[in-house]
């Protein structure tokens, strides 16, 4: 982000703190994709991801008005952390279990290399199997894996967001990957090259 964009964002955050509705909407528009993507990769269904998105922004906007964020330049990472906690909360509540990968509002990118019906069926089956395997991870392990593998955060950043040591992040990540390999190994890992 350039200097002027940063300054603009800071001003927008300040206006949102003062209760300016347009500023709040700008913050939502500029950060919604990032939060939704994080939430979706974590809970793996769109409906729950939308719930996390709403929860994250509600908490953030209310906290902004109460001036809970002291440094406006840190808005993005602060919001991201709220998003992480909202995602963890949803699973901790225990009410959400993964739904199958059948959301109608998922669109597929047009594929440059069309697949045969057999390949398509295998890809779908693999998608479901991956969902199920990721679901089996413990909430924090799942979050660490999501942040590293799908959000491409550095180990140091993950440790900062989750307020734990880098060593702990590495250990949890290693365990998560081993669990996934164990879950996906029977019959699937070898078929990767077929799709």
């Amino acid at each position: 982000m350039s200097y002027s964009m940063n300054a603009e964002m800071e001003q927008t955050v300040q206006l949102a703190k003062e209760g300016n509705r347009n500023a709040m909407k700008i913050l939502y528009d500029s950060h919604r994709k990032q939060i939704l993507h994080l939430a979706y990769k974590y809970v793996r269904n769109l409906e729950d991801a939308e719930e996390i998105l709403q929860d994250t922004f509600t908490k953030a906007l209310v906290a902004l008005k109460k001036n809970k964020l002291k440094d406006n330049t840190r808005f993005s990472s602060w919001l991201y952390r709220i998003g992480i906690n909202s995602s963890l909360d949803l699973l901790r509540k225990g009410k959400k279990q993964l739904t199958e990968h059948s959301d109608e509002r998922l669109q597929q990118y047009p594929d440059e290399n069309p697949h045969t019906p057999e390949q398509e069926s295998l890809r779908r089956e693999m998608g479901q199997k991956i969902d199920q395997a990721i679901q089996k991870l413990a909430p924090k392990q799942r979050m660490i894996f999501t942040l590293k593998h799908f959000q491409h955060l550095k180990i140091r950043e993950i440790a900062g967001h989750l307020q734990c040591s880098e060593g702990n992040v590495k250990k949890q990540l290693f365990r998560a990957v081993n669990t996934l390999k164990k879950e996906l190994k029977p019959g699937f890992m070898e078929k990767v090259n077929e799709v």
Binding site: Y28, L36, L53, V62, R105, M126
Partner: protein, 243 residues
Amino acid sequence: MKCKDVEQLILLDLYDEVSADDRDKLRHHLDHCGSCREQVKENQQLFHLLDLEEDEELSPRWDECWNKIEQQVAIKEQKSWIIPAIPRWSMAAAASLVLLVIGFFLGRNISPSAQPDTGAQMQASNRHEQMIINNYLEDIRPMMVDLANYKPPQKEKNGGPVEKEIIKNMLMQTRLLKQYFSNRLDPSINQLLDEMEMILIDLNNVRPGDKRSLQSIQGIIKTKGIPLKIKMFEQKSNEVTTI
């Protein structure tokens, strides 16, 4: 280096999270260890498998989500307004000030000075004025009743029976009404507005813990029979509005 020492490095290397020094050690170990090379292969296969699902694009209901966020923020803010020290009429008072100001602007458009009135316009104008007065009376009466019955605790924690902001709001409403309706209302309501203004000014000047001044204001409210007067005006204006 033993296999146990490199198992985490094998994974971290795929994420490019290994120092140059550790990477050299890892390469050296892999050159001589078939089982760890197998681990690398398995990790690569898993990554490839996980990459397959990155093809999907989401179509969230952005606007619907935003509407819900706005609603939730509004609800949470309202909840934080209601603290035990503030009586039920305080929020209504603040909201009424906004309505009152809007009401003035709307009312001016149908005021007699703007253009010659037809009978229907006159009636609409009167109804509009009565409505504004009614809203004001509805807010101020419970405030006066609560104030008259207020018993200060031993140690005042909240600075007084009514928040300063609320007093200021009501004072502003009273002055606006006085100014706008000065020659157009029943003189007795103008008198009531004068009394309300005085009480609110005194109330605004009461310092936290100043029980004497507060008792003196309570005395004025009771002797002048303010709540009763307001009630009578309310009844009267309700009759007018119904007609």
